[in-house]
Symmetry: C2
Amino acid sequence: MSDALLIRNGRPMGGKPSDILIRNGVITEIAETISAPDATIEDVAGDLVLPGLVEAHAHLDKSLWGMGWRPNDAGPRLIDKIDNERHLKRAINIDPARQSARQVVLSVGHGTTHIRSHVDVDTDHGMWGIEGVMATRAAYADIVDMDIVAFPQSGLLRRPGTLALMDQALKEGADVVGGIDPCAIDRDPKGHLDAIFGLAQKYGRPLDIHLHEQGEMGAFSFDLIFERTRALGMHGKVVVSHAFCLGAPDRDLVDPMIEQLAELDIGIMTTGPAGRPAPPVKRLLEAGIRVCSGSDGIRDTWGPYGNADMLERVMFVGLRNNFRRDEEVELAFQVCTIGGAAVMRLDNYGLKVGARADLMVVAGETITHAAVARPLRRLVVKHGRVVARYGSCVRTSP
Amino acid sequence: MSDALLIRNGRPMGGKPSDILIRNGVITEIAETISAPDATIEDVAGDLVLPGLVEAHAHLDKSLWGMGWRPNDAGPRLIDKIDNERHLKRAINIDPARQSARQVVLSVGHGTTHIRSHVDVDTDHGMWGIEGVMATRAAYADIVDMDIVAFPQSGLLRRPGTLALMDQALKEGADVVGGIDPCAIDRDPKGHLDAIFGLAQKYGRPLDIHLHEQGEMGAFSFDLIFERTRALGMHGKVVVSHAFCLGAPDRDLVDPMIEQLAELDIGIMTTGPAGRPAPPVKRLLEAGIRVCSGSDGIRDTWGPYGNADMLERVMFVGLRNNFRRDEEVELAFQVCTIGGAAVMRLDNYGLKVGARADLMVVAGETITHAAVARPLRRLVVKHGRVVARYGSCVRTSP
């Protein structure tokens, strides 16, 4: 039997009804009517056909999804949450292999076809996270593509031994070098950034740095990141996640940062956080900066929110940026699709002939309509195969 | 046949499994096991039983729900949206009776048992809104209780004739006197506030004032509201909706306002807006201030968001206020239930013996779990009768 798939009567990007033919995992034709007698037909009755969602910032190793409800009683500071989590991992057995598998199945059900996951590396747990998520990546390669970021959640230099573990994680198969708050968490911005840029140079890997630091402190860390990106010729190889300091009201602080982000082709990840300053998505896009989004942690020891639905994330990014016109909400959708693809440097992404057939089908009159209504995804297609139907994934998790 | 209803095996407020007996629309007993041979039994299999949600700030008269998707192309300013909407009302026939009926049915499906709706009063449309929503209130009195606020959306003094229409709306049956941005919209803060406080005095009605004004301008309008509330002895009779200026970072500006809100028992309504400064819910509650929430406009000419689900609103209020601990998320739930009841001065509200049987049943291990997962409501009970089941209301709308 042929592996050809014919999606009949869909509306690509909300346009006019079309058929989409997929062969060998690639979109081979998009036309008003396509005949392909050997193909399996999926008639989607006028629903939207959209590119697969890109979850560009997850923490697959540590959701509590499926572990029963655990009331959150972590303290208010970032470091309280970090220490609380590191302790609980063993205490309640937050197994990274099991939990990442659960979140992958959940994500794919929502139409996500690509995930970048930060994965904790620390001296208490060593490679537990990296190896667990790598096992999930291998076991679920048929339904999702995954980038793994080696992430020093508990700090790098303040906990000696972590740098060697980061090195090991990259040797074992992590794709991206992570970092976190060079001032506020690691207390040694020069040391932290020299170390992670050093690793990136040693292994020829890109960087994705968590930066929660606000105001002048965040701008200072950004300055140090700019210097190193420029000096090492790492244009286009650096992403900064959260980047709350870009949400400061002072344009004299923020505008020069935006200029340098554009010059150095540094990508920005924002979840559209309601309770924090947030990067101004429209201004970043207008400056030509790659902007992506992600669920961040979902239902974990940090907090109870989240369901890994990146179409719901479009709504959050839209609400945070006060996007009201449809063309504005579509910017948030771009962030959660082609923005993520640009940050993850995905080849052949998108809803076009010649691209890989990673897509979803969802009810809605327009993209904005789907983003605010967030209905179950009718179909999710990965590598040209149906991998989820009405929210149910073809794969199960432990 | 008896009208008794026995909810078996529910967990009131997430506590231990209990039965709840309802007779004549009133909760008559809550106990581990209740025998009531004459009662209709609903076994809810360990789900949560919670008080009905209170939608304390809706605009029932002007949602586009069910009217097909209409791309939003309103301009960026508040006044652009106001003028755009007033024009479109007739142009596309946003019929207040029809649209309010649709939203009531939607709201009740989500577990809302009480609604306060602002309803536009302006010189283009006269009593169209008030009469339409009053018709819905009468027609759907079996499934929801409703407060109607006569709301001068387009301004009061800047559009001569509006004040006389407001007077008429109160005569015809509106319950509450509305107001809007005395400076920014009406351009005459003294005139605007004297007029609406005057109406409140004339008819002995409470006030609910939209205040979007930020920073010093908002604080100035608040000052004028405080003066009038105090001078007229209207303690406990005034609500300010949105109150973005309470979200200013300057504690020297905000703290004195909070003190006066407490002294004058002025209630605050916040939607938990992600893209605007927002009243600090925890600090307000700690000061003893009544705080409620609402959906505000849903899918209307102002923007595409919203679905009238006040359990989802708990999540928005939680996210906006960075509530992460379960006890914090429960504050947001309080705002959407007893907070609304306190603002609307509902008698006999709550999940207790002697209270009116207005409640919902929803899956979840705890209140916070239900708020972040937002599953379909298993049952909604109003006046002791089942009015919705798994999101479907027993009533339909045009």
